[in-house]
Symmetry: C2
Subunit: 346 residues, 2 copies
């Protein structure tokens, strides 16, 4: 919610009216979406992505209804076949009659209209299936952080009754890996026999994996890759807990061929087993980290607004704190301390 | 600096002693590093990466000395040959007698010891050259954000007298792209004729480019790729300014073969031209964004410490705010508002 610098009583009453209107609109969208209206659901998700007042009101309302879905992160390097795997998992879940939503964190830019990935086409088979909802999200411009926006989108699907929410990210960036790592179950997808640079990425990804999938399991080299991965995972006795990451564990390494469907049922069984395990329980590390990302995103938003308001309300010298830092006249620590003093009135 | 919950006068005096000791150590390391002691420089960078009290003291001290180096972000998808290009740029800069530092944001994990990329070996040629300093940084675990840590590392090199700081990131993640985008000049590297998924990444990357390099310019398809990129860039008349990103501009598209060295001199000339242009001037958008990332990282650190201290000092119910959110008993907005009230004493 965009807080403005404090105005007169008229401004305050306008703000109250805005809040009431946003809450009414949120109720309307939630009621419709939870009753199966897909356009209302899409609008809620757009509001969440844009962090509008309607999104805040909706997320406040639906938070107590969420917490039942299994959030499954699917991540891995480009070319590992994540989208094909997601399509295969959807097919498997639908055979069992389980409703599934997908949040695809798309590395392409809205500027070019978003390049259509080959597998998105395959997803169109589900256009008339109310048990499937696929949502692409831009990976940029989330002021509160990608992890928080994704968690909020997942909460919407969760409250709307989707049993499983698949969160697909390209696992080559810090934020994208963190997004997958805040899921209840994180599946890292690898293709057999990749080059040196991919190996490096792989090493970073393995830390967050609950389940490792070697995709394209019908290709030569896939068994060797699986064996190498198992060796890497057991060769890391010092898999110490690191800030923001789950405690050490030994993920399963599964061979899957998403294209032929071989191994997909076994993967879903492994995901379900993980769901039942303590790691995926309520108040698990993953859920606490997700809650922290959401709370901190709101906090950061609110504090940024307040700081901006203070700067605008103050004398003009205040507005140039960042400029002074950029010009190397003031160090960032001093600037931060001045802002905090103003904020807390110390 | 880790602020502790307020203790007695003894605790306060210990904290003061710690601050004085950190400042003394920072002075010692800065004096040595700026006089050419490479081990001291390495230790400063480690302190910066770990956000220690010594780092804060050093960054406060050296901030006014920084601001002279040209920060050049080098980013692009895996396999585009970024490391080879960085090696070629180093060679070109050294021929001109210009000191150059590299911050390589490494997607590999410290857990496996960090996979050695082929091109790192090539860099060993500069092991005895005091005009070259290469530093790898893990891309994970930066609580204050990767952009802020990288900016701080660049400030150390800047104050130490390096003329150019190359910041190499794998441009497939939100954070990594943002890191490159906070450089004065952002070079996006592409390889000719990549697949569909890479095309998607490319679209996202182009937004932040000041200069686009088609690497491996001796391969067939490189001219076509360059032509396609030029078309994409001119086909985007709606390149509107987006939050946290620079205003629209039309980047140059250059053909380079980092392996043979063809086009590298032209690339360096283009980087130097950009340095002189208004975009790269003091108080440019890039510098303001960098300052904002640094100030916000410090602010977030300080506020997190204060909030943690408040929770520890308060009744036990306070410590479970995150747990209540994770258990869906409290929504993240309410949790954030309660924390802010406590912080500002409202």
């Amino acid at each position: 919610m965009a807080e403005k610098p404090s105005g007169g009583p008229e401004a305050a009453s306008n703000r109250s009216a805005d809040i009431v209107a946003a809450a009414a609109r949120a109720d309307e969208l939630c009621d419709a979406a939870f009753a199966g209206d897909r356009r209302a659901l899409a609008r809620l998700l757009t509001a969440v992505e844009n962090r509008t007042p309607v999104a805040e009101a909706a997320l406040r309302r639906l938070h107590s209804q969420a917490g039942h879905a299994q959030l499954v992160g699917i991540t891995g390097p480009p070319g590992a076949g994540k989208s094909t795997l997601v399509a295969a998992l959807i097919a498997e879940l639908r055979r069992a009659g389980r409703p599934v939503a997908v949040v695809a964190v798309d590395p392409s830019s809205p500027i070019t209209g978003g390049a259509v990935l080959g597998d998105r086409v395959r997803m169109q088979a589900y256009a008339s299936d109310d048990g499937v909802f696929i949502r692409s999200m831009a990976s940029r411009g989330h002021s509160g952080g990608l992890a928080s926006t994704t968690a909020s989108a997942a909460a919407v699907f969760d409250a709307a009754g989707f049993d499983v929410v698949l969160i697909e990210t390209v696992g080559t960036g810090q934020s994208e890996v963190e997004v997958a790592a805040t899921a209840d179950t994180t599946v890292v997808v690898e293709a057999p026999e990749m080059g040196d640079e991919i190996q490096a990425i792989k090493a970073g990804l393995l830390e967050v994996a609950d389940i490792v999938v070697v995709n394209k399991g019908d290709l030569p080299g896939s068994h060797r890759t699986a064996a190498q991965l198992r060796a890497m995972l057991s060769d890391a006795p010092d898999r110490a807990p690191r800030q923001g990451f789950p405690p050490p564990k030994s993920p399963d390494v599964l061979l899957v061929s998403a294209a032929t469907g071989a191994g997909v049922a076994e993967l879903l069984a492994a995901i379900d087993r993980h769901r039942l395990s303590s790691v995926a329980a309520l108040n698990s590390d993953a859920r606490l980290r997700r809650a922290e990302a959401q709370v901190w995103a709101v906090l950061a938003d609110r504090l940024r607004s307040r700081i901006r308001a203070l700067e605008e309300a103050g004398d003009n010298a205040d507005a140039t704190l960042l400029e002074a830092v950029a010009a190397h006249d003031l160090d960032p620590f001093e600037a931060a301390d001045r802002l905090i003093s103003r904020l807390t009135g110390e």
